[in-house]
Symmetry: C2
Subunit: 452 residues, 2 copies
């Protein structure tokens, strides 16, 4: 009953121009080495001790369907920068396909800074052109899935719904944020398209303008209830909130709930609960909304405000307290005529480890996450650990059936249960141990001596 | 040579579900009053004293092409929430068109908080369904155009290029950010799609991985220059930056420039400039990049670092220091059988003025912006002022030829020249005077007495 967002044509030019200029230089100089890039996050956002990985499905669809259309190639041909580039480069683009390999951790995996969470091995041009799209997709969805997991954690089992579309960074960002926040543990979204395309449960109440469009609040409530007799949640703070609650209870026992979209929700929810209870509407829920985030929800629940569900928007879909994830995509290995060349960066702040890598995760006796070990990809599995990176695409072909979105969400929930609570603290960062294997350290030092 | 991003089908479900539930309630209760909503920004982002309005073209394309497909309607019909909604509501959606009126300030207009910058008059359902899309488009593009104008102002005439796609909130956000930052005064973008779709000038250099893909830095530079003999800008800080500069000058006099993508750009650019000048490459430019924003650029130029152009990414496309614009869309007027009903909100923090409004702008004798006057739309033009809101769509039909993007950019540049510099201060907020006309104040007080 739903399609995917990224199918068909029209994605190839969603890239930085330098990916194409570099590609032309590679092509013209017959550089077509098999190259490996790894994507990792250098620094976690403020207050975060972990990340929830998301966005892989859109990356895979992009890689499987990546083509340049005739019109796009014509556009490139006419760019002044490409004036001296030989025309066979454009023939190459016409036949361009991603024929490489993609390894990745599954969506919903808990990951940490400097871990290689995606690994691409392909002809250098193929590996380069896809950089921008992959980064923007993974950076954003991982940012929001992570933020959402914090909001959901703060809500302590009370449902959280994404209400952020109107403040997201454009219509597509709203849809992707709905997907990512569902992966992060929300129960659904207000975005209808996200329901249509991804099968995410869709929720909606009404706006203040709805109430204002009628002559009286009570009339507006009654008309809404007539239309949705089994699912009515009424917004009660257009005028006076206690009056609103008293009007709402006139709907009767089958009212599902009320929404409060105001500051001061702690005090107001307590008053509203008393009015609902007094009228016998013990089952009517209170949905809170209005610039909520994990910190406010934590406070609301600590002060025992009777809010049963949370609608969270702006703060979650923009990850407002730290709105950009600094994912990078770095060259780590090339196969040339002279054999494997490992690539690394040696600067003190920005060192990157060379070679294709694997992450092995160790759990303690209670099944709780204990440490990760970063090794070369072909290293032997350290005893009692699990490899995190899986092979999704091989020679351009999909190797695994992708999970349903609800399964991904379950994966997140399950993984977060295995993450000790100290890493989920909303206010304090605790570093998870990521060990570098002795072989990897040796290789790094060897290269360092060679190049610096 | 380029298409528009938003054409054709597939936009209708990009809305919050409550827009559709409210619509069903209106439809079922025969409420089809002619309704006016206004969009305004309640609070400017931190440190901003003005906004650069952007995103209108995409809103207009959306309104002119808005349709529900059969498949989308089938999806809605099957939603449990709509179980009791009469089937003729879905027939209504099948034939749905936006037949209303759109008034807006032109893109590139300087606007302030609480000014109605978009006004929609339409059947209440039409006016309601479009809320989410309009808000997300205008909120995001206006946020980024404003941020870009600050970055461009800090750069004091030196060109600024958008490099932000990989950190934008998904691929579409990167494209919209390229458009908005061009409107805000950037000279171009690294995003190829933004060039293809919007005709924005596209720029690109090379990445560190490019240099690393060759056996030596010098070889990588020579091969790049062979491919792009007229436009080569070399990234010189993959290994040692001074060595990189010395390798770059070996390219000779036709080298266009070098890029420095490191911390400590002030000190490094001075060293690099000396190396370039010593080799006689006085015309080779230095392009600076790497987590730049208006504050860092201001510092770079105050310390007289010889940086000639700036590539700005993450900070600009996410408006990182304040990443969400709180635009709202409020009911201000309804035409019912009993005549005009004005709608307003009276809460102290969130008061909104009633009625269709117009903004009149007054300039001083030097042509500089002096004050705005908010009036009812049908009020007489105050002497010596200009109305800002224009009629773009009437009864669903486009009333004006839309300007080219380069013209919009010129509009911004021209408007910013008329804005006194004190409002452009990067660090200090200065409030521009927005007067409320006596008639509007009277109407507000009259309603206040009536309703509170």
């Amino acid at each position: 009953m739903y399609d995917k967002v990224y199918q068909g044509l029209g994605q190839a030019l969603k890239t930085d121009f330098y990916e194409l200029t570099m590609s032309a230089a590679y092509f013209q100089n017959n550089i077509d080495t098999l190259t490996t890039f790894e994507l990792f996050i250098r620094k976690l956002p403020d207050n975060r001790s972990y990340l929830v990985f998301a966005g892989l499905e859109q990356v895979i669809e992009y890689l499987l369907n990546l083509r340049f259309t005739k019109k796009e190639i014509l556009f490139l041909k006419r760019m002044p920068t490409f004036k001296y580039v030989k025309r066979d480069f454009f023939d190459y683009l016409r036949d361009f396909r991603f024929n490489g390999d993609l390894w990745s951790v599954p969506e919903g995996t808990i990951v940490f800074e400097n871990e290689p969470i995606i690994r691409v091995t392909a002809n250098i041009i193929e590996a380069q052109i896809i950089e921008t799209f992959i980064l923007s997709m993974i950076n954003f969805q991982t940012l929001v899935a992570t933020k959402a997991s914090r909001v959901v954690y703060a809500a302590k089992g009370k449902p959280v719904i994404d209400f952020g579309s109107r403040r997201a960074h454009g219509p597509e960002a709203g849809i992707l944020a709905a997907r990512a926040s569902y992966i992060g543990g929300c129960i659904g979204t207000s975005n209808v398209y996200a329901g249509y395309k991804f099968g995410i449960p869709v929720y909606g109440t009404a706006a203040h303008s709805y109430t204002m469009a009628f002559d009286s609040e009570l009339e507006s409530f009654k008309k809404y209830y007539d239309t949705f007799p089994e699912t009515t949640v009424l917004l009660i703070d257009t005028y006076d909130i206690e009056e609103g609650a008293r009007n709402a209870v006139k709907i009767g026992q089958s009212l599902k709930g009320v929404r409060i979209d105001s500051d001061n929700i702690i005090e107001k929810s307590k008053k509203v609960r008393r009015i609902l209870d007094k009228a016998g509407l013990h089952n009517a829920k209170i949905l809170g909304s209005g610039d909520l985030n994990e910190y406010k929800i934590d406070k609301i629940l600590k002060e025992k405000a009777p809010v049963d569900m949370f609608g969270v928007g702006t703060e979650m879909v923009t990850s407002r307290d730290d709105p950009a994830l600094g994912g990078v995509y770095k060259l780590v290995e090339q196969i040339t005529d002279d054999g494997i060349k490992y690539r690394a960066k040696f600067s003190i702040e920005k060192a990157t480890y060379p070679g294709k890598k694997q992450i092995f995760r160790r759990y303690d006796n209670n099944g709780m996450m204990k440490e990760d070990i970063l090794t070369l990809a072909n290293a032997k599995k350290p005893q009692g650990t699990e490899p995190l990176l899986k092979n999704y695409i091989k020679n351009g072909k999909l190797m695994k059936k992708l999970p349903e979105l609800s399964q991904i969400r379950n994966t997140t929930v399950r993984n977060l249960k295995k993450l000790p609570n100290k890493y989920k603290n909303l206010y304090k960062v605790v570093h998870f141990r990521v060990k570098i294997s002795p072989e990897l350290k040796r290789l790094f030092r060897k290269l360092q001596n060679l190049y610096t």
